[in-house]
Symmetry: C2
Subunit: 380 residues, 2 copies
């Protein structure tokens, strides 16, 4: 049975990238590898909207999140984090794991944090040294507004640290213009790679903070990585060589397509998926601020979405994800990131219709695929 991957990461890897990674390995302390590393890092900059250096880490996205915490916050220091889902919550856990004092802004899953909430928290915790937030909260399929948060934090000595794991390469990120101090992402989403690489860039003032920061750190010590990658053109520790080759290739494909086109394609896939969900009588978890990389559809009353996910995967070969934590059984998360086109939405919605019908959910047959088609017919 043919398999289709529509999870919110890992996302499909293009054949060009698979072939690139299948080449014989080279050693990572060679001029040949330095060329690849430099070029991959350079090609990340437009996706970040930054002139700063983008540093590669051999880790998954959580590793880069940890690097942001340990390089910008010291034990005993306060930090505010936006908890609108599983990954927001993870910021809190990381802050506390490293001895920081975590101040939570609780946001209902699927909602965007309100700028006023953040302004209030900054007033309530004047000693906070950083604000940790997701650009796109993968668990709740919602976007948080980053640009206005930057307007708040840039006036203060508060670092704005953004998890861009399901937003970099999906929507425009203007790190420099918006005043983001640290932006992290991972390889297995819109960057069209297997998991195993993470990226982080720091603003000028974050670099200053990092230099003075005395928090214990070693593998994720960005002082060392910056020196290695920017001055010596190697990594401090053994990198995932194949993934770095793959990254250079996937960024070549992304930049050749053109970032405006890439963003528009993701937006169209997301709109088509949402339209289909509504046509099938499913609610949207984030109707007002939906993430363009992953769409969250709410289960009909009384239907465990775990069953929908299993039916789609086991009987139709189509992988999507259910909800995490409090949304377990109540959410269907459909990823549409990376090596995918609007027409693929028809496949995942076609499968969703079959699974829903088999599980007794009532809707007008074909309404989902027709709604998706109505959206994507504007493509090209």
């Amino acid at each position: 049975m043919k398999k289709y991957l529509f999870t919110p990461g890992p996302a499909p890897v293009p054949p060009e990238v698979l072939l690139e990674m299948a080449q014989p390995l080279i050693h990572h302390r060679t001029p040949e590898f330095s060329v690849v590393l430099d070029s991959a890092r350079e090609r990340m900059k437009p996706l970040y909207g930054t002139r700063q250096e983008v540093i590669l880490l051999t880790a998954s996205g959580t590793g880069a999140m940890e690097a942001a915490v340990t390089n910008l916050l010291q034990p005993g220091e306060e930090a505010i984090f936006v908890n609108g889902g599983k990954f927001g919550e993870r910021w809190g856990k990381l802050i506390e794991a490293h001895g920081g004092v975590a101040r939570e802004i609780k946001v209902e899953w699927g909602r965007a944090v309100r700028v006023e909430q953040v302004a209030e928290a900054l007033r309530a915790y004047p000693r906070a040294r950083a604000l940790f937030v997701q650009a796109s909260e993968t668990s709740s399929c919602a976007l948080h507004p980053i640009e206005p948060l930057g307007a708040l934090t840039r006036e203060r000595d508060v670092m704005l640290v953004v998890d861009g794991i399901t937003s970099v390469g999906v929507i425009e990120q203007k790190m420099d213009a918006w005043g983001i101090d640290a932006l992290v992402t991972g390889s297995q989403k819109a960057l069209m790679l297997p998991p195993g690489l993470a990226m982080i860039a720091l603003s000028e003032r974050a670099l200053e903070r990092m230099k003075k920061n005395r928090a214990p750190r070693y593998y994720f010590d960005l002082r060392r990585e910056l020196k290695a990658q920017c001055e010596e053109h190697i990594t401090a520790y053994t990198p995932a060589v194949g993934l770095v080759f793959g990254l250079r290739k996937s960024l070549e494909l992304i930049l050749a397509e053109g970032l405006p086109q890439v963003f528009a394609r993701h937006e169209l896939m997301a709109r088509a998926t949402r339209a289909a969900g509504v046509a099938l009588g499913l609610g949207l978890i984030a109707p007002d601020n939906p993430a363009p990389g992953v769409t969250g559809l709410l289960a009909p009353e009384g239907l465990d979405t775990g069953k929908v996910v299993r039916a789609m995967r086991d009987r139709l070969g189509v992988s999507v994800q259910g909800g995490q934590d409090q949304m377990k059984g109540r959410l269907i998360r459909i990823g549409h990131m990376g090596h995918m086109g609007p027409l693929d939405v028809l496949v995942v919605i076609g499968a969703l219709e079959i699974a829903l019908k088999q599980l007794g959910h009532r809707f007008a047959s074909g309404a989902g695929v027709a709604a998706a088609q109505a959206v994507i017919e504007s493509w090209n």
Copy 2:
């Protein structure tokens, strides 16, 4: 831009097969290769519905067609061929190229040959030594009835030679039960491989005919190949080693899915494609006897299908084929063979809708994908 392959061959190759073929080559005169060759040939038998030996040739399907002609017909001998399209016509060219006397049964593109037409030709040409026909005529997307033709030829000293290039692995073929004397196919269709391998099997009486046949032949001399492959477990000449490895793997996948399931899947994809075509106001070239491996949709009046094919490929990344020869510009041929599932029909129909709309054809938006979805919702 992501690419999608819906041509009537080559058809998509599963990743498992690509990986199998990507392995380091071995030499072809080794016990290791003999194991692979034997196993690939053995696994072909259920697809052919035969206990006879299936011989591999390093050639495309036309090579196996030529082998059938030169091993079963001698210069000066008469043969009847069914010409219902480009590949039927090719039988005639092959017969004549080798000095045979070709007696044509002309069939309108899209129609099946009538059994009575064949019976009549057999009466009209009592010296005919063979009947050449397609099981599925790829150019006209139509099936010919093989079983009743076998009932006619088995009573006479007339070999029934069948081109199964787009039927083997798509629909059931009962070579032995139906009295097929030679059945040929190629690797790049339902066998889920790149082009480069062809297969042929001969009935007992065809083997007798072959032994006595004095037609000039060398590379396609099946006497030599049968001895090499069946007795020495090697090929007479250097084989496409990687493709033979791939064939063993693809047949493993096909037999694991189960032939009844494979045939049902192809039938469902074909039904969904035809339903979508009708819903979009397109005619079917073969309404009464459509091939389950490739569907032929007729252009709306005044629309050059070459434009549709180009719009789908260049703007949407979806490859289908136009018509050949007399149907050039008038036919859209959508392949649905091999590593493909019913949900994929939504992709090709979604793309067809977008292209048709851009080219000014009027239809109810979404009608095609909805009609396809209505058919495939019975899947699994």
